[in-house]
């Protein structure tokens, strides 16, 4: 029973019933793992059949100082479900009811244990679909997807899970329950919770966005003489304003492994892409023509278009069997999850290939070409300990290469315990300290999924990053402030008078880089929205921005346009103590650590001064969004705790 006293077990049994509390050795052993290599036995397992019982359970565990880890299908590749400090596993899989499907307002309300594939099945008869499609959608749950911020092949067009969750019921590690929406508190804490891997709370109910199914879908298989050609094709496609529903890619090794296994009829080539276009028949016909032209320009060797549903299934057969093709070779397949800016992909992949060849590792390489996310699949035998150590070392090196190319150690699988040490390689000391503060504020006793995400020795291992020279006056002002400061910018809507001390970001008004290879724009926070829109227009580029008077930073932190949050890929900010943080970048996906973009989104300067933003660009005009009326954000219990932890002096108003 470990940490669980007989008295506590009796109390828990009283809440959930005797049969739902397990302390037998078999249950403990079988709840000790997920899809990763981590294996730690908990002290107890509780089957949660009713969400209403959860707050009481959490409060009880909190009162007894018992750590807990929530899980459902446990398909996680990073060891997020391992109970590193022992404690209790809360099995949320029985919370699997779809509560509401509203096709008029396009949303569905589900319990967190609903399997993603089951929601898709339920939506199908109504002609709707749920956009995020993790590869394991047949078994993974929506709660798990949200808490890991999972994405999938369709991410390039539709975005990751966080972009599709409208509301969530969450139980904080202290037992308080909250309902979060993107704009009902200081900062987009709903977005912060996405990808937090259960370290900040437990989600019991979700309201997710659903979309009408496209009337037509067409699939294409194209082969290229090199990886670089294939990546260039995707960049050119985006440049023409074509956003495929998904772009999946394989390298030569994978193609031949798949072909050996499935005989799917894939032509032999250095790189193979599977495109899928969706929309109206007319749209697809237009895009297809352009696609063919672009592929030919980039030296495509074969261009195969599926003419019917059967052919489409046949084109996908090989891609879907890629994992199986590897799984038959050895007992274990370790799936990596590095992400780099798309432009860097060929170079990073070349280095990885060299390492795999040198180390004589049997591996296949799959990647979502559109967003720079790749999955090396390394086969090994878990029973052979030296083999495991070797594979872990190789994977570490691969992920380090990603970071060296401006990427991240996790695009969609999360950090858990397996990539925890690499966080110190990716982030600076101040950025990791902020993440640690977020955890400490939310869960001071370190009970919710403890010891995950943040490296234990980050204070020694993480690099110290100085703020750029241009920010030094701001740093000094923050550090020396005696009175509370109000962050403002051009056309700021925050009311100030003569007595208010102001920290103005007006001088930070440069557009730093328009990157047409990765389709990103990096701007300082004080750039006017209208200026940015105009400049981009001259380049025939577009951003998801409303027609607003203020600055980009003001729009982002003011919380008047929550629709822009999914399109903010990275930021730099100064915290109230003057420390400088950097998160994300030209990355389409980043599941490493807490989503700091979402912490500052709509925070109205309460957590820090956003100095720089990196945004996603489009080659065609996205749907116009409207700015909402500005209102001062109100704190809830969680945001108050965060504010106290991040700004203990209360220096930012």
């Amino acid at each position: 029973m470990g940490q669980l006293s007989a008295q506590l077990i009796r109390k828990l049994q009283k809440i959930v019933g005797k049969e739902s509390v397990r302390t037998d050795e078999v249950s403990l052993a079988l709840y000790a793992y997920d899809c990763s290599l981590s294996r730690t036995r908990p002290d107890g397992v509780i089957l949660i059949k009713n969400a209403a019982a959860l707050p009481n359970i959490i409060s009880l565990l909190h009162a007894h100082r018992i750590p807990f880890v929530a899980r459902a299908s446990a398909t996680n590749h990073a060891g997020s479900c391992a109970t590193l400090n022992g404690g209790v596993v809360l099995n949320l899989a029985p919370l699997n009811r779809i509560l509401e499907i509203n096709t008029k307002q396009e949303y569905a309300v589900v319990e967190s244990g609903v399997v993603t594939g089951k929601l898709q099945q339920a939506l199908d008869p109504f002609g709707f679909f749920y956009a995020p499609d993790p590869a394991s959608e047949k078994v993974c749950t929506l709660g798990g997807n949200f808490i890991q911020n999972a994405s999938g092949a369709r991410c390039m067009k539709y975005g990751n899970t966080a972009a599709h969750v409208l509301e969530a019921d969450v139980i904080l590690p202290t037992g308080e329950t909250l309902t979060l929406t993107p704009d009902n508190t200081v900062g987009n804490l709903l977005g912060l919770l996405a990808g937090s891997e259960g370290t900040l709370g437990i989600v019991t109910r979700l309201k997710v966005k659903i979309l009408p199914k496209p009337s037509h879908i067409k699939t294409f298989l194209v082969t290229f003489p090199s990886l670089a050609n294939s990546i260039q094709t995707v960049t050119d496609l985006v440049a023409r304003g074509i956003l495929p529903r998904c772009v999946e890619a394989m390298d030569k090794t994978t193609v031949s492994a798949v072909e050996d296994f499935t005989h799917a009829g894939y032509p032999s080539a250095e790189a193979l892409l599977i495109f899928e276009l969706d929309g109206t028949a007319q749209q697809i016909a237009q895009d297809e023509q352009q696609l063919q032209t672009i592929c030919c320009q980039n030296g495509a060797l074969n261009f195969i278009a599926a003419q019917n549903e059967q052919e489409r299934a046949s084109l996908w057969r090989g891609r879907r069997a890629a994992y199986s093709a590897m799984a038959r070779l050895a007992p274990n397949v370790m799936v990596g999850d590095g992400t780099v800016p798309p432009k860097e992909l060929p170079l990073a992949l070349e280095k990885i290939h060299t390492i795999l060849m040198q180390e004589k590792i049997q591996a296949s390489l799959l990647f979502h070409a559109g967003d720079g996310n790749f999955h090396p699949q390394l086969v090994f035998d878990e029973r052979n300990k030296p083999d495991v150590v070797h594979i872990k070392k190789i994977l570490k090196r691969i992920l380090q290469i990603c970071v060296e190319h401006g990427g991240t150690v996790s695009g969609e699988h999360g950090i858990g315990v397996e990539k925890r040490a690499l966080m110190a390689y990716q982030y600076s000391l101040d950025t990791l300290s902020l993440m640690a503060k977020i955890k400490h504020a939310t869960d001071p006793l370190q009970l919710a999924n403890p010891l995950k995400i943040i490296p234990l020795d980050y204070t020694e291992k993480a690099r110290i990053e100085q703020p750029p020279q241009i920010l030094m006056p701001f740093v000094q002002k923050l550090q020396n402030a005696e009175k509370p400061l109000q962050i403002t910018g051009t056309n700021s809507r925050l009311k100030t008078d003569k007595t208010t001390c102001v920290l103005s970001a007006q001088t930070l008004n440069r557009i730093l880089e328009i990157d047409t290879n990765n389709y990103t724009v990096t701007v300082q926070a004080g750039v006017l929205v209208s200026d940015l829109r105009e400049t981009l227009k001259t380049h025939h580029l577009f951003c998801v921005l409303p027609n607003a008077k203020g600055t980009v930073g003001g729009l982002f932190a003011g919380g008047t346009a929550p629709e822009i949050y999914p399109h903010i890929l990275g930021l730099e900010a100064l915290l109230p103590d003057g420390s400088f943080i950097r998160y994300g970048g030209k990355l389409m996906k980043n599941a490493a650590g807490y989503n700091l973009v979402r912490l500052f989104a709509g925070s109205q300067g309460q957590y820090g001064l956003v100095t720089q933003l990196t945004m996603r660009l489009f080659a065609s005009q996205p749907a116009e969004i409207k700015e909402k009326l500005f209102r001062r954000a109100a704190h809830n219990t969680w945001s108050e705790k965060l504010k106290k932890e991040i700004d203990p002096r209360g220096i930012l108003l």
Binding site: V26, L47, T75, Y323, A327, D381
Partner: protein, 429 residues
């Protein structure tokens, strides 16, 4: 495949222990086979016991991990027997997990191995003796079955049950079998003996004794184009394989194969009317001889001759008849995607078109098939399945084995659902 127990396993060299299993990617040792489970969890949503319980311990992944921990001696079979028995006895051996698994891990076979290793893969002793008697003295066995029915007519079985004696060790199965079996043995026409057969028909035990109409229809179906020879009371080793005595299963299979090989015409088709017998003879039997290449080759040749009723049934409205709408029961051990199941679905689809109701995956539970093997968990799968039958106003349930037919009839009667159950051969006009 050999007998062994957990005591035999040398933990320092677990790969070397005796048991091995046949997988889609070749023969692997038991330890190696369970180790190929990558814990991806893709099997869970296809496992009826997991769907019901949402409990990891009742998922295929959980069962494979438990097997692995047992072999690695990280779980004590003695201390955890109760929980382990719950885990392995709940498995319905339907094989759905293997179908969806990327690595094709044969979890159902692992469960059977675990049952054997934990000493629970055995028939109740009385039933075992009855079966042995059947093989040794078929006539005496026939007399005993009749005697049993007379006893039941006299109310002896009820008396036994009310007195509590049926709960005594070795008699537990009696109550179950009593409610399951039909009230009387139907009349069967005399079997014509042919000296130059062109097909061998091995009726399953349940069909031969308790489902004479199925037996008769199957015989009729093949008689149109073949000269069948019925090998009644022929032990195939299936019960032994499923319940654990692998050596006996091997001996009986050898006898069957030799008898088949000694026929004047070589490679005659061998017909079976039970989906479980088909899967055993076709897929499991050759794996019993993996250490005897010569016999394995013979078993594979024999397996190639094995046919199911669906191979001989004509399709179309003029040949096939049943009250509509119809549905297909996919209850089978080890595989619900075996060729006969697919053929049967195809046949029903072509004959009944929209009147053939295909259940959604959740409702299509493998609830019926050899309840002796499956343990009591399958009882929980029955109500939703019956509910689906009721909701879809199904008039005919088509099964692929006589035993499933008996189980279905019993369940429908209990729930007072007015639907008929037919073995697929009974659809033939």
């Amino acid at each position: 495949m050999n007998d062994c127990s957990f005591r035999d396993i040398d933990v320092t060299h677990p790969k070397n222990h005796l048991t091995s299993v046949k997988t889609d990617f070749g023969v692997r040792s038991f330890y190696s086979s369970v180790s190929f489970c990558n814990r991806c969890g893709c099997c869970a949503q296809d496992c009826p016991t997991y769907l019901f319980s949402q409990d990891e311990t009742l998922s295929p992944r959980g069962r494979n991990q438990a097997a692995r921990l047992l072999v690695e001696q990280k779980l004590s079979p003695q201390k955890n027997k109760k929980e382990l028995l719950r885990l392995i006895n709940s498995c319905t051996i339907c094989g759905r997990c293997t179908q969806v698994c990327a690595g094709k891990i044969p979890t159902a076979k692992h469960v059977l191995e675990m049952r054997r290793l934990l000493g629970v893969r055995v028939l109740p002793s009385t039933l075992q003796k009855g079966l042995e008697l059947r093989f040794a003295y078929p006539h005496l066995f026939n007399c005993l079955v009749k005697f049993f029915l007379v006893l039941r007519l006299c109310g002896f079985i009820k008396l036994l049950r009310f007195s509590g004696l049926s709960y005594a060790t070795g008699f537990g199965w009696l109550g179950k079998a009593d409610t399951l079996l039909p009230p009387k043995i139907g009349k069967r026409e005399n079997i014509k003996i042919t000296t130059t057969p062109s097909l061998i028909y091995i009726p399953s035990l349940e069909t031969f004794y308790f489902q004479p109409s199925v037996f008769q229809k199957t015989l009729q179906t093949v008689s149109r184009s073949f000269q069948p020879s019925v090998w009644e009371n022929t032990p195939t080793g299936r019960f032994e394989f499923v319940f654990g005595n692998v050596r006996k299963a091997r001996v009986q299979l050898k006898k069957l194969i030799t008898r088949h090989r000694n026929l004047p015409t070589k490679n005659l088709p061998v017909l079976t009317d039970s989906i479980d017998a088909y899967i055993f003879l076709k897929e499991a039997a050759p794996s019993l001889f993996e250490e005897y290449p010569n016999w394995q080759q013979k078993a594979e040749q024999f397996a190639a001759c094995v046919r199911f009723v669906t191979d001989f049934l004509p399709s179309g409205k003029e040949f096939i008849t049943a009250a509509k709408p119809v549905c297909l029961d996919k209850g089978a051990l080890f595989s619900h995607k075996s060729q006969p199941i697919q053929d049967a679905a195809q046949l029903l689809h072509s004959s009944f078109a929209e009147n053939f109701v295909q259940f959604t995956y959740d409702a299509d539970m493998p609830a019926f098939a050899y309840s002796f093997v499956k343990g009591n968990f399958s009882e929980q799968l029955i109500p939703p399945l019956l509910q689906t039958v009721k909701e879809n106003k199904i008039q005919t349930v088509v099964t692929l084995s006589g035993w499933n037919k008996m189980e279905w009839e019993r369940a429908l009667k209990k729930q007072k659902i007015n639907a008929k159950v037919l073995h697929i051969s009974e659809l033939n006009r």
